[in-house]
Amino acid sequence: MSDGFIELRDIRKVFSGVVALDAMSLVIKPGEIHCLAGENGSGKSTVIKIMSGVYQPDGGEFLIDGKPVTGMTPIEAIAHGVQVIYQDFSLFGNLTVAENLAMNVHLGEKRRLMNWRRTRTIAREAVDRLGVELDLDAEVASLPTAGKQLVAIARALMSDARLIIMDEPTTALTRKEVETLFRIVRDIQARGIAILFVSHKMREMLEISERITVIRNGRKVAEGPTGDFDEALITRHMTGGDILNEPYVWTPPPGTQVPPRLEIRDLTVPGKCEGLNLAIRPGEIVGLSGLLGSGRTELALALFGMVPNHRGEILIDGKPARLRTTQEAIDAGIAYVPEDRLTEGLFLPQSIKRNMLATSYERLARNLVIDRSQAEEMTQGMVRAMQIATPTAEKPVMQLSGGNQQRVVLARWLLTDARVLILNGPTVGVDVGSKAEIHAKIRELAQHHGLAVLMISDDVLELVQNCNRIVLMHRGRFIDDLPAADVTEETVSDRLKTFT
């Protein structure tokens, strides 16, 4: 079969002794929408880099239009019509949309002078070709993520692209923006340009693609038309095993008068949310969802002491708590795992140990000197308890996979003896396998340690499967409080769609 535009045959890539790709094969036909599915660390990004000429394969064959290609550079890859849209879009936030779009043309022509009128003409053409509305004079940094993505796509289309590779394109998008993106992708396809979606979000893959290739541990493990796959099958291929999904059941302890772990009364954050009332009992996992800007993150931040001007009452175990600083929140037993753990939660170059102990040093250093043996004991225990895949706790956190990083954040909070755990998008950017393990861990914490968990997520399925109650928020107010047993992913999603 040599009907492909680009074909990888048994590609092998080794980095200083570590095999990243081994017998990886992939065929992309002209004008098709193809999905490359795989967990983090499975070798997806290595495949992208080989296709875009950043890396050279160490073995196997790489063909373009049926002809073998060797030693391809990034510039040659572009000449062959391969364009990559990176996750960070590779745009200049400080420059205007027009300049970002025209930059490559100017550079390609090796110009010395900057012609602003021509810049606008080039940009106007690019935007028109994509058929979208973009303010050419807007600074890219001021655009929302979806807007930046449009700029990146428009730029990719300017060169005579035959294949556009999109690396995790939906990660930071809302559902509505994903739909817009898919419409644009189909539009691009209609012009005979192939699209390679690199992702681990199964529903989106099934929705958009025509063919799927699944990669695991650097090998192709499955390939075929999308119709042959369903979520369970892809998951099985990606992880090499089945993942069980049982709903979380919580039964109130009989006949006792235990006060709620967390209770908020009439909580108001000026301009963000108003008059919120909620009680979470020990062992409960309460899901919270709503569109971006619904005030859900502000609620979480208020509970974690980051919004000092909030009003209303917050009670922990029945006692009023003052939460005007993060230190007060931590002391009150509140733990917060932020949405963007990479920038908000972790010190990436630092060791697992230091990250885990970051909020416990006060306790460890009662006499001003850190109790090293106790610190060692605590981290070792946690590495084992959280099943973090590492030979040593001294390893820098940035060398861990997304799932393991998230576990380090969780471990940190467990060490503080938290009683209330607030999770904001706990599994964003985490692959299926780790996701299931993190969910199991959260359930265990609630069930066996009596934590009250507030899980904020866009992933409705995640909430339905792991919470016993789901609260929906819109324009700063709680709209629904639904027992998870009474809802399905569809009913909740439909309900969310009515919020605009």
């Binding site: 510039i75 990176y86 960070d88 590779s90 745009l91 200049f92 936030g93 400080n94 420059l95 300049e99 930059m103 490559n104 100017h106 550079l107 390609g108 110009r111 010395r112 002078l113 900057m114 602003w116 004079d137 600074e139 940094a141 001021s142």
Partner: protein
């Protein structure tokens, strides 16, 4: 509306407000001789600020330019005295080239070893100053020895006014050089690819690399230009004050960086304009000048300039955060 949102408009507004305020406290402020003397004080700081602006836009920082300026100035004048040469164009060229070569050293370390510009420029600054005082000399060259051609050149005036009491004052022609260089810098930044590459580098170095900018060329250009401007300004300065002092310009980096940041350039790179910088320089010089007129102690002037750096940086950081939010 777009005009109102521009940083330059805001800075010009603040500048105007400050001028009115200072004028109310001290009516002598608005007198022509004071304004002329103010503009004269803008020249040297302003020329150096153009170089610092370029470096800041690219996401770097330069604290070595006062050392380069003083070295270029002192070496050139020493050379002129040794050779008995009395001219203007060649010495200015020599000082500029010297500054450029010093700047190339900065560029080399920043590009080749990907070192933090602050550390590189701190190091080269100390090395150049130490070398100058240790090897070349520590003695000042006074008016009696200074090359007369330089002094005569720096005395050129655009307009000259005679006061009622017979004394004269005028506007130095050096202002024209400053404005000319500023215009050139503006054109480079706005209408050349090398200028745009400085913005791209300051905006996102990784994206700039992927886009295919020749970052070596960009980085060398930036640091060489900053050094060249400093060397040129250094020699011009000695002509204007009739003195070549090898210990000159100490602490000037603070003033110049303060002026550039005050002019709306982002300390994080990617943003800044020549017009804003010129306004920032004017504001800083005016404030310092007023402090002198109000007989505020020099130590307190330091406090004021330091506060300006902090406040202006905080404001621009706040602005950048709001833009991206």
């Amino acid at each position: 509306m777009a005009l109102l949102r521009r940083s330059e408009t805001v800075i010009a507004g603040i500048l105007l407000l400050a001028m009115v305020l200072i004028g109310t406290i001290n009516p002598a402020f608005w007198q022509l001789d004071n304004l002329f003397s103010l503009m004269r004080s803008n020249v040297i700081i302003g020329i150096m600020a153009l170089g610092v602006l370029l470096v800041l836009i690219s996401g770097g920082i330069d604290v070595s330019f006062p050392a380069f300026a003083v070295a270029a100035m002192y070496l050139t004048i020493k050379g002129m005295l040794a050779l008995g040469y009395n001219g203007v164009v060649l010495p200015l060229l020599a000082a500029t080239v010297m500054g450029l070569l010093f700047g190339a050293v900065n560029g080399f370390f920043v590009y080749k070893f990907r070192m933090i510009p602050l550390i590189v420029t701190l190091g080269t600054s100390a090395m150049v100053r130490g070398f100058l005082l240790g090897v070349v000399g520590t003695s000042m060259i006074n008016i009696n020895k200074m090359p007369t051609a330089l002094i005569d050149f720096a005395r050129t005036e655009v307009v000259s006014v005679t006061k009622a009491d017979g004394t004269t004052y005028g506007l130095t022609a050096m202002v024209l050089i400053y404005v000319g260089l500023a215009l050139a810098m503006h054109l480079v930044l706005r209408y050349t690819m090398i200028g745009r590459s400085a913005y791209a580098l300051g905006g996102d170095p990784e994206a700039a690399r992927r886009a295919g900018f020749d970052l070596r060329k960009t980085i060398f250009f930036i640091y060489c230009a900053a050094g060249a401007l400093a060397g040129f300004a250094g020699l011009l300065h000695s002509g204007m004050i009739w003195l070549a002092n090898p210990r000159d310009f100490v602490g000037l980096e603070l003033d110049v960086i303060a002026a550039v940041v005050l002019g709306g350039a982002s300390i994080f790179g990617g943003r800044g304009s020549v017009l804003g910088t010129m306004l920032g320089v004017f504001m800083l010089v005016m404030v310092k000048n007023s402090l002198i007129i109000m007989r505020v102690d020099t130590t307190w002037q330091l406090v004021v300039v330091g506060s300006i750096v902090i406040v202006a940086t905080a404001l621009s950081a706040w602005r950048d955060r709001r833009r991206t939010a």
